[in-house]
């Protein structure tokens, strides 16, 4: 029988990062991935000869070279990846666009500060106080008990519009809980988006995945694609054997799963977890991607990198009642990063919105395709209210489009209910009810793309290398 010191379930960001750490230090490690493509929730695919990114709009946590002690520096060091290899380009600038107010922000925190002062002059002292509390919040406080981020923010901010505007990007880029967040996670997201910032390799997520795969292979790690785990067998409170989709059996001393906590528990035969349903993710999303021959700036859409929009004065971050919640979303224009002399060949506009899993999964195949067409147009109409008016007819100029839904996410990542941010309750130390089974990735609790890699690193360090 095949035997490994460590078996990792899933070749996404966290699984690959964990694999690199373990292979680098001589562990016999194998990553099992059911999909044919690596990347998990942050991946890419080809359609009609064109490559589309899924997941990642931008790398969060960007800091300039030389800034010490931040998550980006940590993951690059731990994975032995240099900044030159990653070749990140910074965002031009982003916006939080609500019907009644607009706040610009960039990788320079002073811009957001001055914008808050301009739009909410009476709130600026409170905002600075909140930022100071977040800056001094200890990194290690991941084991702190749940504390409502709304309640902490309200100690500093009186205007509920500003409060919602600050929550909107932080929730959209990582929160698995509705309407409120745990304060420690709010701190992580606030730092990663507002205090640090956005950047992107010219080639998008592919660049990052290629670097991770290359490191893993060179370190001697083994990777089995098209090879899912269908069952985990247990004895004496331990995982004794992994059963592959083709029925073959594998043994491993330690199993690290990035499949999600309820998804992993479901693999364990005879294991009844009472809270399995509560553990399932509540929030799903759709994303539409439109491709144009011309650059977005030619349409008059300006140079916004990412726009977090919301109609009306109240922001609701909840499971959508409608098929798609058109009231809020995220517009990402990958062309609008500081690539210098280089540029993307085509214009790309991506729009992400909250979506209802049950409705998307309920459509028959023909209906599903029709709904995609219908909602793509409606999403575009909603989002375009928050972009400068176009001088050209967008529909005539569009040369291709695609849309993914909660159904797509579930089909290719096997994350329950297509919930990209996973379970509302996280296992921050990565331990499970089985001695040699650990979770990393979305359900471990570090958020965002840098967080997912940090999760794989931290779990490999803590439960394998240090043990």
């Amino acid at each position: 029988m095949e035997r490994y010191e460590v078996a990792i379930i899933g070749a996404g960001m966290s699984g690959l990062a964990a694999g690199i750490r373990l292979a680098h230090f001589g562990k016999k490690v194998c990553i099992f991935e059911r999909h044919y493509a690596p990347g998990g929730l942050n991946s890419f695919y080809s359609k009609e000869g064109r490559k589309y990114d899924v997941g990642l709009h931008a790398m969060t946590n960007f800091v300039k070279p030389g800034v010490k002690g931040t998550p980006l520096g940590k993951i690059l060091r731990q994975l032995r990846i240099s900044r030159e290899e990653l070749d990140l380009s910074e965002q031009v600038g982003s916006r939080i666009a609500f019907t009644d107010a607009d706040l610009r922000f960039s990788n320079d925190f002073e811009l957001l500060e001055s914008e808050v002062e301009r739009v909410f002059p009476r709130e600026i002292d409170g905002f600075r106080g909140l930022a100071a509390e977040i800056r001094s919040y200890p990194d290690a406080k991941l084991d702190a008990p749940y504390l409502s981020a709304r309640s902490v923010v309200r100690n500093w901010i009186n205007d509920s519009l500003l409060e919602d505007m600050l929550f909107c990007p932080l929730m959209y880029y990582g929160s698995s809980t509705e309407d409120d967040m745990d304060f420690s996670q709010f701190v992580v997201m606030f730092r990663s988006i507002f205090l640090e910032g956005f950047a992107r390799p010219l080639d998008g997520i592919r660049k990052m995945i290629r670097l991770l795969l290359d490191r893993y292979r060179k370190a001697g790690g083994i990777r089995r694609m098209n090879t899912g785990i269908s069952k985990l067998e247990t004895s004496d409170g331990r995982i004794s054997r992994l059963i592959l989709d083709d029925g073959k059996e594998v043994e491993a001393e330690i199993v690290i799963s990035s499949a999600g906590l309820p998804e992993t528990y479901r693999l364990i035969e005879g294991f009844e977890n009472e809270s399995a349903e509560d553990l399932e993710g509540k929030l799903s999303f759709t994303e539409t991607i439109s491709i144009f021959e011309r650059q977005p700036a030619d349409f008059g859409w300006g140079d916004d990198t990412i726009v977090f929009f919301n109609q009306g004065s109240e922001f609701e971050y909840r499971n959508s009642r409608e098929t798609v919640d058109l009231r809020s979303g995220v517009i990402c224009i990958p062309n609008n990063f500081e690539y210098g002399e280089r540029s993307l060949d085509e214009g790309i506009v991506r729009v992400t919105c909250l979506a209802n899993y049950d409705q998307w999964i309920g459509y028959e195949e023909d209906e599903y395709l029709n709904e995609k067409v219908r909602w793509n147009e409606r999403i575009w109409q909603s989002a375009s209210q928050f972009m400068p008016p176009s001088s050209l007819e967008y529909e005539k100029e569009r040369i291709a489009w695609d849309m993914f839904t909660p159904k797509t996410v579930e089909r290719y990542t096997w994350h329950a209910r297509g919930a990209i941010y996973g379970s509302p309750s996280k296992m921050k130390d990565g331990t499970t009810e089985f001695d040699n089974l650990f979770v990393c990735g979305t359900d471990q609790g570090y958020l965002g793309i840098v967080g997912s890699m940090l999760s794989g690193i931290a779990m490999a360090n803590q439960h394998v290398l240090r043990a």
Binding site: G73, R77, R80, S82, A458, R466
Partner: protein, 84 residues
């Protein structure tokens, strides 16, 4: 191996795990953490690289011995010399 050679080995490892740090002027008598931006993950890597590259084992109880370059040399030099 001399103490100075041992310090060089440790600096080579730090240069590899933290290529963005300036190691030209490390004071051997001051804690590494006070001079360089190293966290507990980096110290784990120093220990792991010592094992991987040189076959030196540092049990967790002894991690404190790696605090400064000087204490590294005092602790590790006899271990290196015991290898041959």
């Amino acid at each position: 191996m001399t103490n100075d050679e041992c310090k060089k080995v440790v600096l080579e490892i730090i240069a590899e795990i933290a290529p963005d740090e300036d190691l030209s002027d490390v004071n051997p008598d001051v804690a590494l953490r006070e001079q360089l931006d190293l966290d507990s993950m980096d110290f784990l890597d120093i220990v792991m690289e010592l094992r991987k590259k040189h076959g030196i084992e540092v049990p967790e109880a002894d991690y404190g011995e790696l605090a400064s370059l000087g204490s590294c040399a005092a602790y590790l030099t006899p271990k290196f010399n015991a290898l041959v």
